[in-house]
């Protein structure tokens, strides 16, 4: 264990309901989630001196602070690159706490991503943003490549070509997620498992991706309270210690279209993985389960390879025969993932990691002493190892 490892812990988790139309503002959703997270651990808004979120979030740290009645903030920050920010918000909090810059940092993310701005649609805003990301998008959007599904499909097709993976291999992820969601009352797809036949029969969105390879669009918010390891021991819940927290960007990196390097997979997740193992001193074999970001199923297979759970091109065999379902050798996304529970930009996956450490998940993995959690894939990203 080095540096940051074990210095901070997630002690509170909170969320709104996950829906297709929240009926209230994105700011209100985030405020509600933070309130729930503070109640969860027995702290109050008066204890909070740091807030961190995604660059993409529409609710600023100062707006959230105003609504919560937080008088002074000593630390506030944002992380870029869409869902790649999720675990990095916890890294920001842990670093601020480990260095004494702040004592109680809340990470939040809230949006009406189904009832207002739908991320699954072609985004003119992404194509016209006045910065280098907008300039980068000039090489794809005007040509017609401008939805998340299509950008991922380009990598998925190449992966199939190189390693012989099939659509049904991708479908194994969807089946596992939906099985886990089926027993999670908080999941949008509670009580609605699918079969591989359902996956194969779902309509093509961006060939080779079927509809059931794509995550939901959701309204909702999640918040996480982070404090020092010492303070965590005095609070209401069993701490989920941050054993490792890492960010990663690869060679010739673009936001979602890192197509110009030899390997058009997700080497940035390899950067994250190597750093997680280095910080924690743990290895893939030490992980009884994982929460792998699943906005699109092919990336779950690629992540298993980048993180070292199996060799390059071996993920199709790894996920076969229920291996990533409860009772299998590496259960994934036990809350149902973003395909099954909700798409809250990866923050709901971190909350599930905390529940597994606490032993309060609806789909508990026995002896889950460590949980690996990853953030958005195909983008500059981040990851965590949480430990009991």
């Amino acid at each position: 264990m080095t540096g940051l490892s074990g210095k901070a812990a997630i002690v509170g988790i909170g969320a709104t309901e996950f829906s297709k139309e929240s009926g209230r503002s994105e700011l209100q959703l985030s405020v509600e989630a933070v309130q729930h997270a503070l109640v969860d651990c027995g702290l109050t808004a008066a204890d909070v001196d740091g807030l961190t979120t995604f660059t993409m979030d529409t609710s600023s740290e100062i707006a959230v602070a105003r609504e919560l009645g937080i008088k002074e903030l000593r630390f506030f920050s944002r992380i870029n690159y869409g869902g790649g920010a999720a675990c990095a918000t916890v890294q920001q909090a842990a670093m601020a706490i480990a260095t004494g810059v702040a004592d109680v940092v809340v990470c939040y993310r809230g949006f009406n991503e189904r009832s207002e701005s739908r991320f699954g649609q072609f985004s003119l805003a992404a194509a016209t943003q006045v910065n280098t990301n907008g300039l980068d998008n000039a090489w794809t959007y005007p040509m017609g490549l401008g939805t998340p599904a299509a950008t991922v499909a380009m990598q998925a097709r190449r992966y199939m070509h190189e390693y012989g993976a099939t659509s049904a291999d991708f479908g194994a992820v969807a089946v596992a997620d939906r099985r886990h969601a089926a027993t999670n009352p908080e999941a949008f797809f509670y009580g609605k498992p699918i079969t591989i036949e359902d996956h194969q029969a779902s309509r093509m969105i961006a060939d080779p991706l079927h509809l059931l390879d794509c995550c939901q669009e959701s309204d909702g918010a999640v918040a996480l309270v982070v404090v020092s390891a010492e303070r965590a021991r005095d609070l209401a819940q069993a701490p989920a210690y941050v054993a490792a927290a890492a960010q990663g960007s690869g060679a010739d990196q673009f936001v979602m279209t890192s197509y110009y390097r030899d390997d058009i997979g997700i080497p940035e997740m390899g950067v994250v993985g190597r750093e997680l193992w280095r910080q924690s001193g743990l290895r893939p074999d030490d992980m009884p389960m994982a929460i792998l970001y699943d906005h699109f199923t092919p990336y779950v297979l690629m992540q298993l390879e980048e993180l070292g759970f199996c060799g390059r091109g071996e993920a199709p065999g790894f996920v076969a025969d229920g291996a990533i379902e409860i009772g299998g050798r590496l259960p994934l996304n036990t809350h149902g993932g973003q395909l099954g529970e909700a798409y809250i930009h990866g923050m709901n996956g971190i909350a599930e990691g905390v529940r597994q450490i606490r032993g309060t998940s609806v789909n508990p993995v026995p002896d889950a002493a460590h949980v690996l959690v990853t953030a958005g894939t195909g983008v500059p990203t981040s990851g965590l190892i949480l430990s009991a």
Binding site: F122, W139, P142, M143, A150, D207
Partner: protein
């Protein structure tokens, strides 16, 4: 309505090229390295001395997508989108026309054409290459 590219000082030469029927690829005036997408510096040698070459406009499909949903501004779906390895050694995204979605394949040879959207925008567009360009050029040996 078609999606407009954001154009800056570092990329204008490319769009000036499509307007006159040239597929321009950045080349470093100091070391000769080709690069796509373009930028102000040469990541290979660090020189801030951008030039360009005009590509022969022939390449090979590295990967592809058949986009069916949701709608894309200015396009009638489905559309075929490909990652194309140009014979000069750089890779770019393009729409492939005159190809049936069932017939696009990795390794297929394509040739560029130019689609004049209006006075301000001309997009490169790709079609199956004629027979005489069907052979991929021999790869240079790399150490």
């Amino acid at each position: 309505m078609s999606v407009r590219p954001m154009i800056g000082r570092d990329s204008r030469f490319f769009w000036d090229g499509t307007a006159v029927g040239e597929l321009r690829v950045q080349s470093c005036n100091a070391c000769g390295e080709l690069r796509f997408p373009p930028g102000p510096a040469c990541p290979d040698c660090g020189a801030l001395d951008r030039g360009h070459v005009v590509s022969a406009g022939v390449g090979t499909v590295f990967s592809y997508v058949i986009h069916r949903h949701p709608p894309v501004p200015g396009k009638v779906l489905p559309i075929v989108l490909a990652l194309i390895d140009l014979d000069e050694g750089v890779r770019m995204v393009g729409e492939v026309t005159d190809v049936h979605p069932d017939e696009i394949a990795i390794g297929q040879r394509l040739q560029v054409d130019f689609h004049r959207v209006d006075d301000d925008l001309t997009l490169p567009i790709w079609r199956p290459a004629p027979q005489e360009l069907a052979q991929e050029p021999a790869q240079e040996e790399t150490a």
